[in-house]
Each structure stands twice: as structure tokens, then as C-alpha cells.
């Protein structure tokens, strides 16, 4: 059944990248990248999921009861931060691109080539 989660993860990665490839607006492109990035959260958490297990927080459940994988959750926390940092930088670049090129369409941002 986790197969459903993997299908969704692959779909999010590819559709997010598709959006970025065909994007005509840098802000749209950046948001599409966050969609692709969220595929990695779904993948990691699905890899660590166990049927019927609880969250790895032993505040209300006794130590030793079955829990889902805590490590992938720690990794995903870091991954979420990576997304936020990349978005911040890319948006800052977008603002400057608008000032220098007068457009936020990747078609118009073509100073470098050849």
C-alpha cells in the first residue's frame, strides 16, 4: 500500500519539475520547485512509516510500544529548512531580475548564451 505514497512522490517530483521547465514567471517557477521538493518529504516519511505504529513521542505512550521511524522525520525537518532557504534566495534573485531585465519571464532573461 505504501506504493500509493511512492507514486505520489514520483508524481510530485516530475510535475513540479515540469512546471518549472515550462514556467513563464520566475515566482511561479520557484513555487513549482517547492512542489518538487515536497516529493522528497513524502518519500522519506513513507519509507519510515510502519503500519499501526505511533508517533515517536513517548509522552502519552509507554516506552517500547511500536513507533514509526524517528530518523526520517529528523531528516525531513532539515529538508523543510532547505526548501525555505532556497525559496528565500531565489525570490531575492527574482526581485533583482525584475529590476535588471525588466521582466520575470525566463524567456526574457537571456544575457548569457553560447
Amino acid at each position: 500500500m505504501t506504493a500509493v505514497a511512492y507514486v505520489v512522490a514520483v508524481w510530485l517530483l516530475l510535475i513540479g519539475l515540469y512546471g518549472a521547465v515550462t514556467s513563464r514567471h520566475l515566482v511561479h517557477l520557484v513555487v513549482c520547485l517547492t512542489v518538487a521538493q515536497s516529493s522528497t518529504y513524502v518519500l522519506l516519511l513513507a519509507v519510515g512509516y510502519r503500519d499501526g505504529a505511533d508517533a515517536p513521542i513517548f509522552a502519552d505512550i509507554p516506552v517500547g510500544s511500536p513507533v514509526v521511524d524517528p530518523i526520517v522525520q529528523a531528516l525531513t525537518l532539515t529538508d523543510v529548512v532547505v526548501e525555505a532557504t532556497v525559496v528565500a534566495l531565489l525570490l531575492a534573485l527574482t526581485v533583482q531580475a525584475r529590476k535588471r531585465f525588466g521582466t520575470v519571464d525566463p524567456d526574457g532573461i537571456r544575457e548569457l548564451h553560447g
Binding site: 505520489v8 508524481w11 510535475i15 515566482v27 513555487v31 512542489v35 526548501e83
Partner: protein, 81 residues
Amino acid sequence: MTALQVVALALVAAGGTAVVFTREPLAQAIVTGVFGLFLAILFMLFQAPDVALSQIVVGTVAVPAMVLLTLAKLRREDERE
């Protein structure tokens, strides 16, 4: 895996697709907030409350806020011309 999780996964897949095909950035900022919420629900169902909380603060607050502020800045540039 429960039926609820499958529903949440379907919502996430649909939400992600909607974000990509909402080509107008202002509308997209709203849609992405909803998508972030779907993801947070999914993470709760995956028994990952810490990640869900992070996802809420980043996916539904910080990223849309940054996007909206950027769009406001871009509009300011448009107005200047």
C-alpha cells in the same frame, strides 16, 4: 496504510498539480498554502507531528508570505514604469 492516508495522498497529488497549473502567481500563492495544509495533514497521518508543524509554519506561512511580499515588490517595479 489506511483509507484516510490514501485520501490525503490523493489530495496532496491533486494539490501539487493544481499549484503547478495555476500560472497566475498571486492565485498560486493561495493554492500553495492550501497544498501545504494538505501536506501537513498527510504528515499527521504518517505519525509525524513535528514535521507537520514545520510544514505548517514553512509551507502555509513562511513560503506564501515570502511569495506575496515578492509579488508586492514586483508590482512596485511595474508601477514605477
